[in-house]
Symmetry: D2
Subunit: 374 residues, 4 copies
């Protein structure tokens, strides 16, 4: 009998979790098909409709009944970020495992409370940092671990999209201070999740943020001042002394899903670009001088668990497939296997780094990540 | 109540169909969740296990009982190619719709019989040419139709992989004449499916085939002569007079899932590479001279039905997602919507072209596709 | 005292030769600075002006006086193709070495006569196939020779530009039958020169040619039928049995200087694209399975004679630099060094292949290159 | 009668100047062929040999006699950086124009003295920032100026090579504090020159520097501590308020001549990569949503002065060609034409920015560039 699943939310990430719960058994062939027990949405009507589409047995407009339902072993939390803390804490207190979408929370205090609830629960609590699950990223992780590029001394990560690039787009909640710092919240957690997975901690940061557009039009005429920042840049030092930077921009015309990662080491270099996320670039000094160059490694069966999806190399996984891998990792973790998931320890460290960058922007000097608390 | 599904086969393509049937309702949100009725495999034990993983209600080792089952409306045929004809004909005669994996059949006579059975059935019969369903390919299709590159006058398609590239790999059934022409069968149907979808027919062909390795080792020592061809090349003329070529190579080291398509027209050029299948390259003469260049168009919500999978552009569909689109097209076709699927008319035309190339290779001259029959 | 140079013609290729003669001593540092003796142009005035710019001592409107001038040791022939034969033959008869731009001649009879004059002369006669001199191409040559990709079994070459792509451009001499076959003459010699340099001979060909635009506008209104072909495609077999094709298109919108070369062998694959001509793509099966991929090798000092131009790798040679290398090769050849130049033997073989493709197009069957004579 | 040239130094940059002085008249066809008057090197013998190769009339081991020679109008200074100040100041005082290689000087005090000498001289004094002369870079400059990407709000520049990447390479003068900050001096001037050319000034900086290898082996055994920094990163703010960063790394395995430039504006994005320096990437929001994407613009005749080198697009200029363009700009500047050259005003601003980054690294806070003096 497979694990009992409760899903809260049916927006994009809710759909993504639902697809993963449906696909995990066929794809991997080594786990029981999960029982899709309860789906919660804002209204009973929407919950009912989505339960039908997604294959869930019961629908409810009361997420609290979901987290209490004995048929539920694990709760997928895919609601807007501001609800994460209350839902995750409730679920953990009810003895459920938690699979919560990123970012962890909208305040550091919330993240700390979630972390405390997790520590007290004896359950598993993981975050949906799906980029980490990409077989290409796992290859990078493994190559770094095996010393393929030697000792890493410099790391660069950029993340850019263009959904805030249109200066004529009306002022929205995304530009309100109440929604957070801006690009720093929206994006920086992704680069930080990759750094976390591969390298562990960030020791200190120095950040800057800017508003490409000081104001935006409001419907009915006139404009309203933008309250947060569409770009953020930060110099970083990792725990191991490596230098580097993170740069994020949500007003970057033409960038659609760009995460450019460059890792420089004493024996070679690794590069990765999320817009071509079935490829890894590797340079190793070991190649002969006249034929050395960056290799474009196409994801394939040599890069598990790609092989569970497609037996032939070079055919390409999709973004939604990463959530299926994450789902398999979670099932494995619950049954005691090692996993590559980022848990609430990792999540809290990522949140601390985000707030450290913001604090540095205010103070104009380096901020040590460890020094940041709510 | 969703459509009733019978699935024959649980190899890679069987899994792919199963994932599609599981995902189509959550992804699209506009079709009822299909009823996964019956799964057939070679043994009852395997059928039972896979039915559990894939979510099918009933399992059987008797595919004939599946095609006769009243709970089944449509039959997914994903078995080895040599079984396609018998199964498809049986299913059509039993009044079921058929979704058959490519290639259609292992002989032209079989393909003709399948075609006849379909014509007599009043049911839908389509082939799993999934590359056609790629939103990027649909964009190409639409751009060509809208005249974005003007009148097309020259087309080139290459398809290459390297699973036969290792000269030291032991002789296998793939090198036996009984398995077909070689690369021509394995690969050429894919380029031909793309040409079929976008341009319609191929008028005539001139083909060549070669054996990169004349013999291969056999276990126990010694070698055995290779009986078919790992490369095939063909000059082509389309019905509209455009020239071009098809080149396929299954011994092409380093090519993993390459399908390179180039379409030249009077107003511009389109290019596509399957190894980066979320990208289309477009050049249009209309751009200013100093800023003209090939545009790398990343698949996104502007390219339906990408939007049903992911709301943000540039995040990337995967190879398996194409089968979900195909599944949605099939459901739509059954309920009377227009579709982009290739049916048994298209499939037969593709088979004829394959055999025309082989015939041309034997005769050393051009062969008209229309002239080829079993 | 450096070699004495005569230059006939000051169009683009004339300028290119002049730059090479000026640069060869500073770049290489191992040859005496050539004496720029005589420059010939159509008029005395133009000859005088260009001699001043190019640094030539004497100017003349009489190319015959140039080839007879005792101060001249080698004659650069850069005039329109139809003059090549007469000038080259005259120069050889006058005891001069000849450096003639490609293509060799406008008829096979002329090429044969030039070849005969060369054989009778005891002098050196080479053709300006500069692409062969690219350090990246030399690397390919060397890697093939060393067996880096094993036994080559399949080769593909495409060459495309778009200067004839505009259907509304007025009819010009380029579309007249008197100017030759069209793309086949303009372009195919370049792919053939690369094949010649790396592989030696082409054994047989099967060709096709098309007219993207059947007619073109003439000034004053109306149109005129196009008399030759803007595309040509040919299946080929090399002397060693390898298969492949050549495809050329001078009406390929967006292609500016594209020469795409793919070489498949039993141990790996090489690829090259002229639009990025400081890069070679190499895949070798020897790399570990999980990190194998095409390497992008950037030209650098490890690829002679790049080092004579720039001491740092990855900085990029330019198209005109290739002529400087060719110039150095010529000086070396004259003083008895081994060279990579294509001489009149090679040139005649290339011309024969071009005519074989045209003949094949007429006859609809394979044509053996050796069988073609004027 | 062309301009009279004196050349000091015959290393790589000396050769590059010599090639430019030889090529400028043939390439451009609109300037008189320069008189190559005097060449100075460290020894009379070397000077004599190089004068022969480079085509100079007179050779000397006394650079002071060169700057005083009445046959010399302009002095090319291509010696090691530490000699720039003395030579440039002497030449300017002698009434010569100065073409000095970058960086300007090894100390800010020297740069200021050179600047003062220039202001007092009434002559032209320019720096050899050749990347600025790339037609692709000029296109970027022009597109930014014309508003093709709207108001620029974010800029990123990376420059990486790997000549210091080998940890086992022996300690050299490059790692001594006396040779400067390290990567910051070697590389940052190039990104800064591009920013200077396109945007004008940098307002403030925040920098970091690291040592990938704390010590390096010395011959005879043992190691020596590295005294400067192989990486440097800096957050920047431009005068117009745009944010961004500069990152340089001379220990970046696999990077050979990488300068990655990204310019984000309110209407689009420009990107450029020096390792493919005949290409510009442009995204403009004006393209239709379904066909928008980054365009790869290949340099061609539409991008002057490419057309003076090659009449056909896409054939590729080389790194050394940029110096020829610079040479033509200098001749034009001397005869009163507008130019794109960076003069000693620009050079001093660049030097100030370099020192501002270093100062910021020491103080741990932002440094305003204007505040920095020797």
């Amino acid at each position: 009998m497979g694990i009992g699943v409760g899903l809260i939310g049916t927006g994009y990430m809710g759909k993504c979790h639902a697809l993963a719960w449906n696909a995990v058994a066929p794809v991997f062939g080594d786990v029981e098909r999960p029982r899709l027990a309860v789906l919660a949405e804002a209204t009973a009507e929407l919950a009912q409709r989505k339960a039908g589409e997604f294959g869930f047995a019961r629908a409810t407009a009361d997420w609290r009944s979901l987290v209490e339902d004995p048929a539920v072993d694990v709760v997928s939390i895919t609601t807007p970020n501001k609800f994460h803390a209350e839902m995750a804490i409730s679920a953990l207190r009810a003895g459920k495992h938690v699979w919560c979408e990123k970012p962890m929370a909208t305040s550091l205090a919330d993240a700390q409370a979630m972390h405390a609830a997790w520590k007290a629960s004896g359950r598993h609590a993981v975050l949906g940092y799906n980029y980490v699950q990409n077989p290409a990223m796992r290859l990078i992780h493994r190559l770094v671990g095996e010393g393929a590029v030697g000792t890493v001394n410099h790391v660069r990560v950029e993340m850019d999209e263009d959904f805030m690039a249109d200066a004529s787009a009306p002022f929205s909640i995304r530009s309100e201070a109440s929604s957070g710092y801006g690009a720093l919240d929206d994006f920086a957690v992704h680069p930080l999740s990759l750094l976390r997975a591969v390298f562990g901690g960030v020791e200190r940061v120095f950040g800057d943020m800017t508003r490409p557009y000081a104001e935006r039009p409001v419907s009915g005429g006139g404009t309203r001042a933008v309250e947060n920042y569409d770009t953020a840049t930060a110099l970083i030092r990792l725990d191991n002394g490596a230098s580097g930077f993170i740069a994020v921009n949500r007003a970057a015309w033409g960038r659609k899903g760009r995460i450019q990662l460059q890792i420089f080491g004493s024996e070679g270099t690794l590069a990765f670009e999320q817009e071509r996320f079935n490829e890894v670039q590797l340079f190793t000094r070991g190649d002969a001088r006249e034929t050395q160059g960056f290799r474009t490694i196409l994801s394939g069966p040599a890069h598990p668990p790609y092989d569970r999806f497609i037996p032939a190399p070079g055919h390409g996984l999709g973004f939604n497939d990463l959530k299926v891998i994450e789902c398999r990792e979670l099932i494995g973790k619950i049954r005691g296997e090692a996993s590559t998931l980022l848990d609430f320890d990792d999540g809290l460290a990522i949140e601390r780094t985000v707030h450290a960058i913001a604090r540095s922007f205010e103070t104009g000097g380096w901020v040590k990540v460890d020094s940041v608390t709510a």
